[in-house]
Symmetry: C2
Subunit: 335 residues, 2 copies
């Protein structure tokens, strides 16, 4: 009888911990990424970490989307070529395949198109696509990898950015405590986090922060009930359309791993998650949250930190006599 | 009988490939490092990759000793805080535990003392030891790791640099083709590489480039038979002693992985290994090598590329409200 009781208790505990999945929540779980072309992903990883895609030979994709630090640089705005101050906060590369479009203003459609941007941005990597292609084309191991993966003898920027994008697609963060809870593990998050999630829905955060990425699927005006005060000159979508109604309209950032991707907002002006929650509630929802409510929502947001990409640090093939030299400091006469 | 013949053939082939080890060569194999305290090494790895040990929050040890690129930055001199031009070529961190002393001028005794240098060098990471300690002390996961590894409640710079040094000690590159040859595999290197090694010994390179690190164990004057022409103002050991006889005396660099650690010499003025071999022979040995000799020695040098450290990219614990903020661009009034 004692054994039976224990069994009954175990069943009962199990029933407490595991409930049915929650398909009707406004947030859905992030799923693990299934790699279908490992060689392409490996090539993309090398390129993501290769500073020779920058003019200086010092800045790689990982410099500003650091995979040790939530796929971000944890700076208000990034440091670019010649220590230039970047114009806007560097968004996390984690789960970026879920973005409705890339960059804060959504000016490009997908990760491949995005990957080409910083390479040739004078404020960022300061290089040219032509020179980036010259670099990889001068290195036999890269040439062989592109041949194996894309069956090309002549590499173009398209293969370079495609491989980077294919690597970036693997950078998803599944199995966060919140996702485990969504999938039915009722004890995966704390009571405070559950309360925070209820509040998050009740006060209206989910109007914009929904879907698997908890955002990243719409553009919204920053500052609805109050203006957002900033010295940052970015105008958002209006910078593309010229439309006054698009002023300060930005892509809603993902809240996945938001604990790791400080400082917050497009100008990186707020370092604490509690501050960001307070500002969002006031400016976007017209609500002044109590300190305890902010704590609860913040606790919930921390349950969105998922399993970070885990991989072996790539080894980069050495340059050759044909590789264009980096120009970290001195401009050559030909320029 | 046929079977016996095949067996005899197999034994004969085996005898060709595997000879006795060569203990009396001027170069000895690099041995794998045996980790005794994995937690300490893991902590050191995190710190090695953590840009929060710099003022900007952007530069880590790995920025200039990039483990994807032979433990170097492949730049003539490094890029430091605020894009300042470093004074001297960044030496590889690979096998650096074999160095007789650290830095080109040997001004510090060991890796732990070295690790503290760049953190507070205004031209490099531009930080202070006090602030570096404040950063790690503000992050609960780091505090716990230091507690576990060093049994301290109050972290000092000594534990920070000790952990970094313990990680760096693991960065050895055993099993190069040349080491396999040294250990008796007569086919591990090519005929050209064997010829190059014979030349390397005959012309006198091994006078300075010997031991397991193929260098790194003496200080020598750069420019014995001819002056070394450079715009780099570094004076070598004379910068420490003030002695005229120490002018341009530098630590002989390791030639392990030299294929990966371009550009060469303390000023990083030469990008091609062939050029470096030519310059060394003329300036240090008073020999003008033929083009074929240079090719052979270069081929031998490439046989010194060993197994590169392979490890999982570290994840860094997030900052807290108590963490000193990085100052990438703006100096605060208190300074």
């Amino acid at each position: 009888m004692r054994k039976l009781s224990l069994l009954a208790l175990a069943i009962s505990m199990s029933a407490t911990a595991i409930a049915a999945p929650k398909p009707n929540e406004p947030i859905q779980p992030i799923e693990p990424y299934e790699v279908t072309d490992a060689a392409k992903v490996e090539l993309g990883k090398q390129l993501f970490f290769d500073p020779r895609l920058s003019k200086s030979g010092f800045i790689s994709c990982n410099s500003c989307h650091n995979l040790s630090m939530g796929g971000s640089d944890n700076l208000p705005t990034s440091i670019g070529h010649n220590w230039q101050e970047g114009p806007i906060n560097s968004p996390t590369v984690l789960n970026s395949s879920y973005n409705i479009a890339q960059f804060w203003d959504g000016r490009v459609a997908d990760l491949q198109e995005q990957a080409g941007g910083p390479i040739e941005n004078p404020l960022e990597m300061g290089f040219t696509h032509e020179l980036a292609v010259d670099v990889v084309s001068s290195i036999p191991q890269y040439v062989q990898s592109f041949k194996n993966v894309y069956n090309v003898d002549k590499i173009t920027i398209n293969e370079v950015t495609n491989a980077i994008a294919e690597f970036e697609k693997t950078l998803v963060t599944p199995n966060s405590p919140f996702d485990q809870w969504l999938k039915g593990d009722t004890e995966a998050i704390t009571a405070e986090q559950k309360a925070g999630y209820q509040l998050f829905k009740e006060v209206g955060c989910t109007a914009c922060h929904s879907g698997p990425a908890v955002g990243a699927n719409t553009f919204q005006k920053m500052g609805l009930f109050e203006d957002y005060k900033t010295n940052n000159p970015a105008e958002g979508v209006a910078g593309l359309t010229g439309e006054d109604t698009d002023r300060f309209k930005f892509k809603v950032p993902t809240l996945r791993n938001v604990e790791l991707t400080y400082p917050y907002f497009h100008d990186g002006a707020y370092w604490q998650l509690e501050e960001a929650v307070d500002v969002m509630a006031r400016l976007q929802l017209g609500r002044k949250l109590e300190s305890e409510q902010i704590s609860q929502i913040t606790a919930f947001l921390k349950s969105l930190t998922g399993e970070q990409p885990s991989f072996t640090m790539p080894l980069l093939p050495p340059s050759t006599a044909e590789t264009p030299l980096p120009e970290p400091f001195v401009k050559k006469a030909k320029e």
